[in-house]
């Protein structure tokens, strides 16, 4: 029996560029939801440092990078990105593979925040939501994770099955922003 072919969530729908804002799919590699057991926060944090050189993030923050990092992902949860979790972690935390569960899109451009303001209630002012800040939120009625990865760059994640809707909603928002920019 032959190999099964993998398909990315945004297969054929990205990259694209609308009104000066670039949208591209990001392959985050291995994604593991890490949920420390009771009282194991410190031990887990130590194991993360020792095993992977990564710090456990505070609520609403991300440590490391989107290539290799830890993203707060909700109450007592964080997403280990780009790293296969070492054996040492499972003693302290429940580990759940989510590598295929999320569609991840990078949104980059001066008007990226303006477009996102059409989709999510998160306060995206740089003074409030700076680089490395992350939120679990609603984006156009979809459960989402939104992270500021640069001054004008965001990482947006929704359930894989919502990929097409995300493309549609981002397109609509960006077109609206582009119309105003053209004035």
């Amino acid at each position: 029996m032959g190999e099964l072919t993998a398909q990315s969530p945004m297969d054929g729908m990205m990259p694209t560029r609308i009104g000066g804002v670039a949208l591209r799919e990001v392959d985050l590699g291995a994604l593991t939801l890490v949920m420390p057991y009771r009282g194991a926060d410190d031990a887990l944090s130590g194991a993360l440092e020792a095993g992977h050189g990564l710090r456990w993030p505070d609520a609403g923050r991300m440590t490391g990078t989107t290539e290799r990092g830890v993203m707060w992902f909700g109450r007592t949860q964080a997403l280990l990105i780009g790293v296969e979790p070492g054996e040492g972690l499972s003693v302290h935390a429940a580990l759940v593979d989510q590598s295929d569960a999320w569609a991840a899109v990078e949104i980059e451009g001066d008007r990226a925040a303006e477009a996102l303001a059409r989709l999510t209630p998160v306060d995206l002012r740089t003074g409030v939501f700076g680089v490395g800040h992350t939120a679990r939120t609603e984006v156009a009625h979809m459960a989402a994770s939104l992270t500021r990865t640069g001054e004008a760059t965001f990482l947006l994640m929704v359930f894989r099955a919502f990929s097409r809707t995300l493309v549609h909603e981002l397109g609509t928002a960006l077109e609206g922003v582009a119309v105003r920019a053209a004035r």
Binding site: E3, L33, Y37, L95, V96, D100, F162, E169, T172
Partner: protein, 973 residues
């Protein structure tokens, strides 16, 4: 007519537009109202009820008269206020509520019936016969009365919705708002300055008074430029803040300037602000006197705006009537602009005048003369009644602060005797301060000062340091007003121009004992039109106060509710049409299913294939029956990824699941699956599904598609609130795994090929689960069945879902099998008597569905105590049964009710209902599932199904649910 001079229009850029098909010319900077005025158009609309001719009355968003329809066809926009419509090249406007035109309206015969059309006319007149209410009276009334109409077609225009956040929201960019915004911005606060006009300045754009030694509008523009250049300020012109809500949330409607080829109309904003400053200004109020609605009668402040800002005047000879210095100011500006002032009538007996105009202190206008416009003005001074020729009458009854937004959270405004006006109540909206005319500061200097003070106050609230800055110099006159509401006398005196409500209507309401202001409003419809009584509320309640012998403060106001100005539903619902209506959730096999022409059915947000039509199949039953036989005889593939999957781990995982399920899960062996039932806290069934034990401390819970979110929420509640003592963690893995059912007698050989290992009963028995490999990928295999056949479910990481589906279907087709959809899945589960949410619909208990035996008595679980309440395990309850037709009629209908064969089919004799129905190709007849009183004890009895909507009735035999392969031999095969 257009006046000489600069104004704030650009005469080098003429703009052509039409009104009712007639071509006119205006200039950039004009509104439709000012352009019509410049073109000499006087009648721009017909009134709501009496079809009286009406002209432009104000210069702002409060305009009650000049409502027009913009454009025509699908995108036509009714009820646009001409005073707020920016003129653009090619604009087409039409009069409305008139036939054939506003200039000559045959429906004006209504005006002759005016003596009969007073307050409560409809209530008193159209009482009988009752059958006429909806069939005759309502359509006739609706045709005769009203405003513009929608095209009833899908419009091409588009709106947006967006969120904005700031430290300080300043509402209104007049002198007060500009000062508040600057003060807050200079202290470092993030500021949003919202202004409904196209430019900042507010009244400064309409007046000639200077600020800081320069023209007021120039100072305002300079302030706007300074603010816009600051990184922490967002100036939003064309943006009306329309509502105040909890926790500093404000709604605002932004309209973009119209440009050719642009479908985007604007944006509905939700602005979240830590603090706000209400600097919305004030609205000038009319005085009621006979025929005060004639075209040419308008507000004095509005006339100054037209003369000073747009350099237009609706006539050549103007009479001015006021009860404050507004009259003096108006006459002064008119004279300066070269317009003849035929009379300045001041209601204050002690008023003096230094202008060279005919001046009448203590005078009261008692009527206007003319047909489609004012020709003369009659007024009383002492005992004498005089008339002056005038084609314009500018009036002012004082100013009403725009307190609306301060009242949106339930606060009531406070009456101020000195200003004869309602002022916003302190603290009515948390975090909101007031400034300028909105709080009764009516001089320019007063506005600037109070704006700066409000800015400082919010800055201090936020813990910032205000920068001391001098307040610019400006006019600081006093506001001396003698309250004056209406001039008694014969003839109709309008209060609410938009809804055609007169002084007489309000006094009649009082006479008929509608003395509460809220009752008066509803009886007369005063304040109900699109302007929401902005022009009329205070005067109407003053008249009511008079008529009932109470004071104004005691009478009080009606409730101010959002929105402050009309908001198109299209703006509030922006984006929510077509693909934007709801997110679409697609399985990994979606494209393959669509390629096979499978019609999709929605399951929550998911899309699932109903059936896979083959060539020659013309209706769904053919495909469905074929797919059922295909699965039962060969093998079928079905995407079941939509079912909820929850990964549960931890030292106390087993204990937690024991607490969630009615049955025992801690005794489940690793590598085995068990069917389980979850109850709500109230003891009724919430969901059913399987629970697989993947490891000693590792389980996988499956839920139905419909209840996946509900079960997840339930589990969070159970863990966080009910059993925080348990050390357990769980997460949804629904999206991580693509899962496919492989069902039918040939499923085993098919899957043995796919996973490359033996799957016989000894290797992989019924209800076994575990890891396998396929195509080099780690996968999970479960031996579970929802079809009653030998069946498995195989799951792979989602990225391989599409590939695996194609592979499984290919292998199935090689075995006379293929994909099957929801219809076949449903038929097979009804044949087996398996439940879905059609049966566990929220009102049924484990007892009702025959699963009372699954409620373990060896442990506690959610819903256990409540399920044991008296009545919930009662033998008389409706219990799950199967049904098959036995009489001449072979039809069963889901939702139909069940009755004893001889009983009358009424609710008193109702014995149950049908929940699921299908034609069973295997049994050869229609089968149903339903709930029947004492059902389990009545197997073999007959009941009658009656469906009242269609009027059908079927005699049925009560059978045990699951008539196909009742022993389950095929499933365990």
């Amino acid at each position: 007519m257009r006046l000489d001079g600069d104004g704030l229009i650009d005469r080098s850029r003429p703009l052509a537009f039409t009104f009712d098909g007639r071509q006119h010319l205006g200039f950039e900077g004009d509104t439709l109202a000012s352009a019509l005025m410049g073109a000499g158009v006087k009648v721009v609309a017909r009134s709501f009820k009496y079809h009286r001719p009406r002209g432009v009355f104000t210069a702002g968003s409060e305009e009650p008269n000049a409502l027009v329809t913009l454009g025509h066809g699908a995108g036509q926009e009714p009820n646009a206020r001409a005073t707020m419509v920016e003129l653009y090249e090619g604009l087409q406007a039409f009069g409305q509520n008139a036939w054939p035109s506003v200039e000559f309206d045959l429906m004006a015969v209504n005006d002759l019936g005016a003596p009969f059309l007073g307050a409560g006319f409809y209530y008193k007149t159209f009482m009988w016969p009752r059958a006429f209410w909806e069939k005759v009276y309502e359509p006739v009334i609706r045709r005769a009365a009203g405003l513009g109409t929608l095209s009833r077609k899908t419009g091409p225009e588009r709106w947006e919705r967006a969120f904005a956040h700031c430290d300080v929201l300043v509402i209104g960019a007049g002198p007060s708002g500009l000062m508040a915004a600057m003060t807050a911005a200079e202290a470092g606060a993030d500021v949003i300055l919202a202004e409904e006009d196209t430019r900042a300045g507010g009244r400064l754009n309409a007046e000639v008074e200077e600020v800081d030694g320069q023209a007021g509008h120039a100072w305002a523009e300079a302030m706007r430029v300074r603010l816009a250049a600051m990184g922490n300020v967002r100036v939003m012109t064309r943006t009306a803040v329309v509502g105040g809500y909890d926790q500093g949330t404000y709604a605002a409607l932004e309209r973009l300037a119209t440009e050719a080829d642009r479908a985007l109309k604007g944006c509905f904003w939700r602005i979240v602000a830590k603090r706000s400053v209400l600097a919305a200004g004030a609205i000038e109020r009319p005085v009621a006197f006979a025929n005060n609605d004639r075209p040419g009668v308008m507000m004095a402040g509005a006339l100054r705006a037209y003369v000073n800002r747009w350099r237009v005047c609706p006539g050549r000879r103007v009479a001015v009537f006021a009860n404050s210095d507004a009259g003096h100011r108006t006459a002064r500006d008119l004279k300066a602009a070269g317009v003849h002032v035929s009379a300045l009538i001041d209601a204050r007996a002690d008023a003096v005048c230094d202008l060279d105009v005919p001046f009448y202190a203590g005078g009261q206008v008692c009527g206007t003369v003319g047909r489609k416009g004012v020709e003369a003005v009659r007024f009383r001074q002492g005992d004498r009644i005089e008339a002056v020729q005038a084609d314009v009458l500018a009036m002012s009854g004082g100013w009403n602060p725009s307190v609306h937004l301060s009242c949106h959270m339930g606060g009531r405004p406070v009456w101020d005797e000195g200003l004869a006006a309602f002022l916003p109540r302190e603290g009515a909206v948390p975090g909101m301060r007031y400034a300028g005319a909105a709080m009764g500061a009516f001089s320019t200097r007063g506005c600037l000062e109070s704006g700066a003070a409000a800015g400082r106050a919010v800055v201090e609230d936020l813990g910032l340091q205000a920068v001391e800055a001098p307040v610019p110099g400006a006019e600081d006159g006093t506001y001396e007003i003698t309250p004056f509401w209406h001039v008694p006398g014969k003839g109709r005196s309008w209060l609410d121009f938009q809804n055609d409500v007169t002084v007489k209507d309000v006094t009649l309401a009082a006479q008929e004992n509608f003395t509460s202001v809220e009752h008066m409003k509803r009886y007369t419809t005063q304040g109900m039109a699109p302007d929401q009584g902005k022009n009329s509320n205070v005067a109407a309640l003053a008249v009511l106060a008079d008529a009932t012998g109470r004071g104004i403060a005691e009478t009080g106001t009606t409730t101010f509710r959002p929105p402050y100005v009309p908001v198109p539903i299209a703006a509030m619902g922006a984006g929510a049409k077509g693909k934007g209506f709801a997110p679409e959730r697609f399985t990994t096999s979606h494209a393959a299913s669509v390629a096979r022409n499978a019609p999709m059915i929605e399951a929550g947000l998911w899309y699932r294939p109903s059936y896979f039509p083959k060539a020659g199949e013309t209706q769904w039953r053919q495909s469905c029956d074929r797919e059922v036989r295909m699965v039962r005889d060969h093998v079928g593939i079905c995407d079941v990824s939509t079912l909820g999957k929850i990964d549960v781990q931890g030292p106390d995982a087993a204990a937690f699941l024991d607490f969630l399920y009615t049955g025992m899960m801690s005794t489940l062996k690793v590598g085995r699956v068990r069917y389980g039932l979850m109850l709500r806290v109230d003891g009724h069934v919430m969901d059913d599904g399987t629970c697989a034990r993947l490891g000693d401390r590792h389980f996988l819970v499956s839920t139905t598609t419909a209840a996946a979110g509900q079960v997840m929420r339930h589990m969070e509640f159970a863990h966080q609130v009910l059993r925080p003592d348990l050390d357990v963690r769980f997460a949804s893995v629904t999206e991580q795994w693509a899962q496919f059912a492989v069902a039918g007698p040939k499923s085993r050989t098919l899957l043995e090929e796919v996973v490359g290992q033996a799957l016989g009963n000894e290797d992989w028995p019924f209800m076994a689960c575990g890891d396998v490999r396929t195509g080099g990928i780690g996968a999970r295999l479960f031996r579970i069945s929802f079809s009653g056949e030998l069946a498995y479910e195989i799951a792979v990481p989602s990225r391989y879902g599409a590939a695996l589906f194609d592979l499984l279907v290919e292998k199935a087709e090689a075995r006379e099998g293929g994909p099957y959809g929801m219809e076949a899945l449903n038929v097979m589960r009804i044949e087996k008597g398996f439940i879905t949410h059609a049966e566990i619909h929220g009102r049924t208990t484990a007892f009702d569905i025959g699963m009372q035996g699954m409620m373990s008595d060896r442990k506690d679980f959610i819903g256990k105590a409540m399920a044991a309440r008296p009545g919930l395990m009662d033998e008389d309850r409706a219990q799950l049964v199967g049904l098959k037709p036995v009489g001449a009629v072979k039809e069963l209908i889901a939702g139909a009710h069940l009755f004893a064969p001889g009983a009358e089919a009424v609710s008193e004799t109702d014995e149950g209902y049908i929940t699921s129905v299908a034609f069973s190709p295997m049994l050869g007849h229609v089968i149903g599932l339903g709930f029947l009183a004492r059902g389990r004890a009545r197997i073999g009895e007959h009941v009658r199904m009656v469906e009242h909507l269609k009027g059908s009735a079927t005699l049925c035999e009560v059978v045990a649910p699951g008539g196909f392969d009742p022993e389950g031999g095929r499933m365990r095969g």
